[in-house]
């Protein structure tokens, strides 16, 4: 079947890119792209598939970063356990915060999530003994069974399986019975309730799952940087990840990685460019405006359709989105 073959080809290409990326870019940037991609996917799960715009996902990214950093540094745990601790911390936090935020919808929901994230930012700033305050949490080691994964290239390959687990988890959630219910709630919540779905509870589960994915990403980022700063919890982090998800294309899942790649490569390019270095905001802003105006559904659907033109007509159906892309109201 063409669909199967298409999927195998896609997986093979993805593996090749993942293995080769740190040879092309420097490893820290390469891992950054994959990790922010996972973070953007957590936003897409909530926004693209659930219709819920969280503007406070820095909370889960940051709390997981601090939790993973503390577990790795003070408990001396191997890095996968540190990452797990981060996931647990962010999911545990998402239960009460999600429960409270989801009592509102639309822009009010976004504002409440932002408010909670801002609260955490200031709490982390004050909790200096734990977080290091403005100095950040420094000297995070990363070990695995006595191996010190010092060089960033080694850590890239050590962390890659964890990131992939995150991607696969996101894919499974979206393409599960739960994912179908989530999309139906996004499209017509009253209808879903009349059928007997406790939509508030479904949205809370989606919120916690999304926070757990954001937490996995934040943990790996902390271990990669060996440092957690207050920037992890800053509101601009929440904004950046939503931007990446939108650039990549909502409701596409994989688009998040593309969005992260464009964003981070552009930032990297501008910071090393002699001419444009002084005005990175202007340039990035312009590029994003062009992308959003020119490719309204985002990078991923555009690329997929472009690739589709290379295929014989009979096989294009395999590239159709399995879940329709959402409208944001």
């Amino acid at each position: 079947m063409s669909l199967r073959r298409g999927q195998v080809a896609f997986a093979a290409a993805a593996i090749a890119v993942a293995l080769g990326l740190p040879r092309v870019l420097y490893p820290v940037l390469a891992l950054d792209i994959l990790v922010w991609g996972l973070f953007a996917m957590s936003i897409d799960l909530l926004l693209g598939f659930g219709g819920l715009l969280s503007f406070g996902h820095a909370a889960y990214w940051g709390v997981a970063g601090y939790a993973a950093g503390l577990v790795a540094r003070d408990a001396g745990m191997p890095f996968p356990f540190a990452a797990l601790a981060g996931v647990v911390a962010s999911a545990a936090l998402a239960f009460p915060l999600g429960y409270l935020s989801l009592r509102r919808t639309g822009i009010y929901f976004a504002m409440v999530t932002l408010a909670f994230a801002q609260m955490l930012f200031y709490v982390a700033n004050e909790a200096r003994p734990l977080t290091g305050g403005e100095n950040g949490l420094q000297g995070i080691p990363r070990t695995l069974g006595g191996l010190a994964l010092g060089p960033s290239l080694s850590f890239y390959y050590a962390a890659l399986p964890l990131v992939v687990v995150g991607y696969l988890a996101a894919y499974r959630i979206v393409h599960s019975p739960f994912g179908h219910v989530l999309v139906s709630i996004r499209d017509n919540e009253a209808r879903a309730r009349a059928l007997g779905y406790d939509t508030a509870r479904y949205k809370l589960v989606a919120f916690v799952l999304s926070a757990a994915l954001a937490g996995l990403a934040g943990s790996i980022e902390a271990l990669s940087q060996r440092f957690v700063s207050l920037d992890f919890l800053h509101w601009s982090t929440s904004g950046q990840v939503v931007l990446m998800a939108v650039l990549g294309g909502l409701g596409t899942l994989w688009g998040g990685i593309l969005g992260a790649a464009v964003f981070l490569l552009l930032r990297d390019f501008l910071s090393t460019s002699d001419v444009l270095r002084d005005a990175p905001g202007v340039v990035t802003g312009l590029v994003f405006i062009v992308i959003v105006l020119g490719l309204r559904r985002g990078l991923w659907p555009t690329l997929r359709n472009g690739a589709g033109r290379l295929l014989p007509r009979s096989r294009r159906a395999a590239l159709e989105p399995q879940v329709p892309e959402p409208e944001i109201r």
């Binding site: 499974r172 019975p177 739960f178 219910v181 139906s184 499209d187 879903a192 009349a194 059928l195 589960v205």
Partner: protein, 230 residues
């Protein structure tokens, strides 16, 4: 709604009629938990159901269709029914399972679609379905949750004469063992199906009884034809 004291006898088809704005849909929203009553109580099958959420009321065996067709535009016809069947279980929480597991509901979904005459269209998306067939799908969704109380909001509105006739036959078939409430403007449908007719006006019940009796009630005639000082 004001002082509406309505007892729905079990196992009977009731029709809810009245001019636009009389409160028919509001009453449906109260019965299904979409609106909470500011005062008064709702008893379902003898148990208090006041203040329950829509999903809790649905789980107690109350299904409703919507006046304005309310479907999931991007889903295929069969996916709608599968979603409705799944709603009675906790299967929908399984985020760790492949969506292929939804196929367990396929056979029953096709049965239900066959019952409303939509089986041949099972794999179409609803977006491009003609109106009458969307209404039929609404009915299939309501039946999927095996309701004891079936609330149908204008099931024949906008249908062709043939579709109306088919819907009448369908409702006549599915009413066995359950209570049905229809909001309906088509008096032919009301006359054929309903054993009991409830007439609403401005949020109050102005008449109730057999169709033949109610249609000649002076208050009902006035409500429909209008009053000079109204």
């Amino acid at each position: 709604m004001n002082n509406v004291d309505l007892r729905l006898e079990e196992g009977v088809v009731h029709a809810l009629v009245g001019p636009n704005g009389a409160g028919k849909t509001t009453l449906f929203n109260l019965l299904t938990g979409f609106f909470a009553p500011s005062s008064g109580r709702l008893l379902l099958f003898g148990e208090d159901a006041t203040g329950l959420r829509p999903d809790q009321i649905a789980k107690r065996g109350v299904a409703r269709s919507f006046q304005i067709t309310s479907l999931f535009e991007h889903l295929r016809v069969i996916e709608h029914v599968v979603l409705a069947l799944q709603a009675r279980t906790d299967h929908g929480y399984r985020f760790w399972q492949a969506d292929a597991s939804l196929r367990r509901f396929d056979a029953r979904a096709r049965e239900l679609l066959a019952e409303v005459g939509l089986e041949p269209l099972a794999d179409r998306t609803v977006q491009h379905l003609p109106y009458g067939q969307k209404r039929a799908l609404e009915l299939a969704l309501a039946l999927a949750i095996e309701p004891r109380l079936l609330l149908l909001d204008e099931p024949t509105a906008g249908m062709s004469a043939a579709d109306v006739q088919r819907t009448i036959e369908l409702v006549a078939r599915v009413r066995a063992g359950r209570t049905v409430v229809l909001v309906e403007h088509n008096m032919g449908v009301v006359g054929e199906l309903a054993a009991n007719v409830v007439v609403l006006q401005q949020g109050a019940i102005i008449a109730e009884g057999r169709y033949a009796d109610v249609r000649h009630d002076p208050a009902v005639v006035a409500a429909y034809l209008g009053q000079v000082d109204a």
